[in-house]
Amino acid sequence: MGRTAAGGIGPIGLGVAVLWLSVIVLLPLAAITVRSFDDGLGGFIDAIDAPAARAALTVTVGVSLIVTLINVVMGTLIAWVLVRDDFRGKGFVNALIDLPFALPTIVASIVLLSLYGPQSPFNIELNATRPALVIALLFVTLPFVVRAVQPVLIELDKEVEEAAASLGASNLTTFRRIILPTLAPAILSGAGLAFTRAIGEYGSVVLIGGGIPRETEVASQYIQKQIEIDRFVNAAAVSVTLLLIAFVVLLVLRLIGGRAARREERAG
């Protein structure tokens, strides 16, 4: 059988795949990118520099950074407890971690509103405040760091830690000098995914966040409102800014990840 350059499905298959990806993914993103420059570069800058747009982007990035930091600490801690500790019901707790990914985002919003909304049984009303945004985003991003760190912790060689301990290293020293450097790439990659998810999130914050302009309105809510009032350039410019932030974060992560992998290869 003559093997074509495109492999088992031939050049037609490759063409179909590329066409599919173009129509579904590339063309819409190209449309929004070009539309964001409808009024030129100046128009783009004006659109993201408008006070409401700037406020929405600042709130989004600020809250997402807080959420990412909490995820780094708590995610690593939860992964450690799930791998190294032993207690009854561990399997249940482990399954609970995946729930935020399986749950529709609007359900996450309703679930959190039942606890922190006007009908809160504990009288903690956080509805339409920035802490509510943080809680909603912590809920939907919970699995990222935990699931990134867990497999690395399982693989981690215990002998090195024991050697360190027998040489008199304290737990804190062992953690800082042995465990943390090994976990760092996984923590970073989980943190990056959590951050990119957080800046684009809509469903889980739409009800509990309240969308108060310059207070709790996040970028995705701003985009949605601008589309509704036909301010397409404004919506497109903020969308492209979100895409750029996500792109840069993922690119930096890939570079760091690649460097860590190479270092490991050399060491091994």
Partner: protein, 268 residues
Amino acid sequence: MTPSTPARLSLRTLALGYLGILVLTPIVLILIRTFEDGLLAFWASITTPAAISALTLSLIIIAIVVPLNVVFGIVTALALVRGRFPGRGIVQAIVDLPFAVSPIVVGASLILLWGASGWLGFIDEAGFKVIFALPGMVLATIFVTLPFVVREVEPVLHEIGEEQEQAAATLGASRWQTFWRITLPAIRWGLTYGVVLTVARALGEFGAVIMVSAGVAGQSQTLTLLVHARYVDDFNVYGAYAASTLLMLLAILTLLLMTVLDRKRKTT
């Protein structure tokens, strides 16, 4: 690192306390709120005409999206694994792109491409409505679910290699026969896993779909839009809880299915 018992216990308490407050409490609370008036009230609330129509629309969208994702997902995976063509890295990156794009940006992009004032606005003007109609909701759902089938089938194709397919070809099998008899049976569990992820995400998608839906109750609402509309427009908090619980039960079902499939995938 072997922390003392008190240290280990406090780490465990911290991790479990965090999960308890963030995830478990709100979910238990919403279950209590849903079922405190009995199963009948819950049943009545999820079988109203609007609810039935929402469930039907969600199922219609899934029925269109899943076959398309299966066919084009397999073609794309085959092209990526078996093909050696320039720009493979770019195609790989495009497949991952939907995961990094905010659902609202997806919706906005589709409006700016297919909407009345979009690049392909002539289709809308010719009388075929894409945006604020079913085709738009389908396009939005395909966009956000596109990576699943490709990413689940790809590693299996890598693993099985090409020897069997080549042997079949040498024995005179046509490309179709080889695909149906050799390739498809080999990738079936990976494919099923990808389909489950696609269905779960399609059921749960909110942001991208609400942007392109006409939002008419009992006509253009999916289950997630119903949750939102009941809470925001109808002030029907109980109805929102009940519909959320239905979606939550479906999500838990998905998680169970994934666990079962994961075992199958690893043993066969």
